[in-house]
């Protein structure tokens, strides 16, 4: 094909709940399927998506979430978060979307780049060893600026 400029996407994932983990991964994967270069930067609660001991256990809570239509008074009951999480995981699987770990591995296998945010990791006392092995590097905000030069940026 023609020698057009390579389109590039940088996605900043800042949330650690199950429902907020998927938009970033879906967009990253869609971009890779379309031949777009992808960089994912995980910061603050978004680190939960790439912390090895947490990534398989992300949750969604109905508490304070008006979209889920459950009264807050009921949402505080024990087991409600677990129930909502298990329901959402089933729906995700029905659509043939993989769980977080497998999805991120797919993104890495497709050539996507994953980075942990240095400042958030320092704050949470995490090191590279705590992260999912597919994570390429730990970056400071300024390094991310260099990497994302010329990219379209999505903040989630």
């Amino acid at each position: 094909m023609s020698e057009e400029k390579q389109r590039k996407l940088a996605i900043i994932c800042s949330k650690g709940s199950l429902d907020m983990a998927y938009p970033g991964m879906v967009l990253a994967n869609a971009a890779l399927m379309s031949g777009i270069e992808v960089h994912m930067f995980f910061t603050f609660w978004g680190l939960d998506m790439i912390v090895d001991r947490k990534m398989d256990n992300l949750k969604i809570t109905p508490l304070g979430n008006p979209s889920m239509g459950m009264p807050n008074l009921l949402s505080i009951l024990p087991g409600m978060t677990a129930m909502a999480t298990s329901m959402m995981k089933k729906e995700i699987a029905k659509l043939d979307f993989p769980p977080v770990r497998e999805f991120l591995q797919m993104i890495v296998d497709a050539g996507g780049h994953l980075y942990g945010c240095k400042m958030s990791m320092d704050m949470m006392k995490l090191t590279k060893e705590d992260l999912f092995p597919g994570v390429e590097r730990v970056l400071g905000a300024m390094e991310f600026m260099e990497i994302s030069e010329g990219a379209q940026i999505i903040f989630i």
Partner: protein, 105 residues
Amino acid sequence: MPSREIAGKVVEVDAEGFLCNPDEWSKEIAEEIAREEGIEQLTDLHWKVIEFCRADFKARGEPPTLRRITKESGVDTKTLYTLFPKGPAKKVARIAGLGKPTGCI
């Protein structure tokens, strides 16, 4: 719909060059579209993917998602991206003579 000649045969294509009618497809057409997509030579592994896509389309009526290809055809994600670099989703569908894929995965 515009039509064009590929590998000596006039076929209907859409604005992005996807075949409109999968039945007009032939192996020679696949080879020529592959060259347009920058793939000089289709190997056995390429054909494994293409044939899976065509069979799956026949069975289910829509082009398979990449997720489905990697799960069902035995060709993993890394290999698929090596075989069809820079945007495998559309390339595979175009070469296999199927419509533009609409799946999100």
